[in-house]
């Protein structure tokens, strides 16, 4: 995805990169806050009747189960849609239009390919957070974090630089996967400790 929104590509399409990027980040953040807030609102009715400690335990167990699926334990695979963003949009629409459209889809988290269980657990946490505001806070964080890496390609102005980005992404794929496992493990521990403490 990062290779799709570069100054090099936008110049070739006659668009301004920063306009496309702002639309993309806004779209992703808007989708995140909408999905998170909506789930928080939907979950508020039953979350109010469920002790917070129980909700913390559920999230912790979901993180652990998700990590087991992510590493392929018991032959399990992460369920996901196979859909991707439509590459044709970039040729057919103005930069800010497809940037916003891509942002909306990717910031929602689950309407394109999901590569990590933490996406699902994030939305579970938003649902169990107990309010639309708390869910929106979680959602806006996801949407923003999902989109902001696009700034890392701000300096791409030549094809060889784009190839370098692809190589860096490939090189960092495994460490990023391990880092997600590490964060997941820490989060599960914090959730369980929080439930035990209170």
């Amino acid at each position: 995805m990062l290779g799709s929104i570069t100054p090099l590509g936008e110049r070739g399409r006659g668009s301004r990169w920063w306009v496309t990027v702002i639309a993309y980040v806004l779209g992703s953040t808007l989708a995140g806050v909408t999905v998170g807030g909506g789930l928080g609102f939907l979950g508020s009715s039953f979350a109010d009747r469920t002790p917070v400690t129980a909700r913390l335990v559920v999230v912790a167990l979901a993180v652990i189960a998700g990590l087991l699926v992510d590493v392929g334990s018991f032959g399990l695979r992460l369920p996901t849609v196979r859909r991707q963003v439509d590459e044709g949009w970039r040729a057919g629409y103005r930069g800010w239009v497809w940037g916003f459209g891509y942002g909306i889809q990717l910031g929602a988290g689950m309407v394109t390919v999901v590569t990590t269980s933490t996406v699902y657990v994030t939305w579970l946490a938003a649902t169990l957070s107990g309010s639309a505001v708390a869910g929106a806070l979680i959602g806006v964080t996801f949407g923003f974090a999902r989109a902001i890496p696009v700034l890392s390609v701000a300096g791409i102005r030549r094809p060889d630089q784009l190839l370098h980005v692809d190589a860096v992404l490939v090189r960092w794929a495994a460490p990023a996967r391990r880092a997600t496992f590490g964060v997941g493990a820490i989060v599960a521990c914090v959730a369980l400790l929080g439930a035990a403490r209170w």
């Binding site: 913390l56 990590t116 979680i138 992404l169 794929a173 964060v183 989060v187 914090v190 929080g194």
Partner: protein, 32 residues
Amino acid sequence: MSPGMGSATVHTLVAVGVALAVAAGLRSTWSP
């Protein structure tokens, strides 16, 4: 549970959600 502890637990839950959101968002950079 003493007064205020419920609020603290909610804050922990939201903080956990935010941490997950950061990890999930950044990790998703490696998806289409």
